[in-house]
């Protein structure tokens, strides 16, 4: 049997890679990809805790489903904003989007 620590370490590593992607990527779409990785890491944790600590209740799965809904909403609005920005300013490099800097 696999100890819970393996799953948790995997999720932590996935989260960190996602965080790196969010901070380091230039492209706005790539930043959203990083956010997706982080949300997936969260979901791995939720399902793992459900399986190891409370398999008789459904709490972990309900939380994970809500995370799915949140991820979908985030992607929908985020990508729509990126497309809108691209149409208006012809760039999607996050560093160049500095209209609100001052």
């Amino acid at each position: 049997m696999i100890p819970i620590s393996w799953y948790l370490i995997l999720a932590a590593a996935l989260f960190s890679i996602g965080l790196f992607g969010v901070l380091a990527r230039k492209n706005a779409v790539a930043i959203l990809l990083g956010v997706e990785l982080m949300l997936n890491a969260v979901n791995i944790n939720l399902v793992t805790f459900w399986r190891y600590n409370a398999p008789e209740t459904v709490t972990g799965q309900v939380f994970a489903i809500i995370v799915f809904a949140v991820a979908a909403a985030e992607v929908a609005v985020g990508l729509a904003l990126i497309i809108s920005i691209y149409r208006n300013r012809n760039t999607i490099v996050a560093d160049d989007l500095d209209l609100m800097k001052w």
Partner: protein
């Protein structure tokens, strides 16, 4: 080493390797396809955790819808903008440091937790997880509010995204 452990390590290697490609690949469309590999790996993990419903939802929602949306959005923006420049910004060293720090911090946090080496308890076979889930979602004392709020959230996301994309279309 057991078969399940070897399987886990294979899936973990797939997930982490493809996740690393997602954040470093230069071509955006390749990054999106690497994300799909990661998502499949995570779905396999859910199946290993006896959460079949979650595995299927992962594929239906993430691979079937979110990844497609990403690919559409990438194709809607022009290639030169996406693939010409270096993929990482000049602060990538700091970002890597942050990533390592978060991993180290999470690891030490988990180390000090007493349930760190828990073993899975046996799953009772007579409970149908999906029925339980459905009951929990519509019982007022359980998760009725999140269930309805989720639909409002999706409605808000739909209206917001359609509104924003409509602006883009009218140009």
């Amino acid at each position: 080493m057991q078969i399940t452990q070897i399987l886990f390590l294979i899936f973990a290697a797939i997930i982490l390797g493809s996740a690393f490609k997602v954040v470093t690949t230069k071509k955006m469309i390749h990054a999106a396809f690497w994300l799909i590999v990661t998502l499949f790996g995570v779905a396999a993990l859910y199946a290993m955790l006896n959460a079949g419903f979650m595995a299927m939802v992962q594929i239906v929602v993430y691979v079937g819808a979110i990844a497609i949306l990403f690919i559409f959005a990438i194709m809607l923006t022009r290639k030169e903008l996406l693939d010409s420049a270096a993929p990482l910004n000049k602060n990538w060293g700091v970002a890597a440091l942050f990533g390592l720090l978060s991993f180290g911090g999470l690891y030490t946090l988990l180390r000090n937790w007493e349930g760190f080496s828990n073993k899975a308890s046996a799953l009772s076979t007579d409970v149908d997880m999906i029925t339980e889930l459905g009951t929990a979602l519509v019982t007022p004392n359980a998760y009725l509010l999140p269930f309805e709020v989720a639909s409002v959230l999706l409605l808000a996301a739909l209206i917001g995204a359609v509104y924003v994309a409509n602006e883009a279309k009218s140009d």
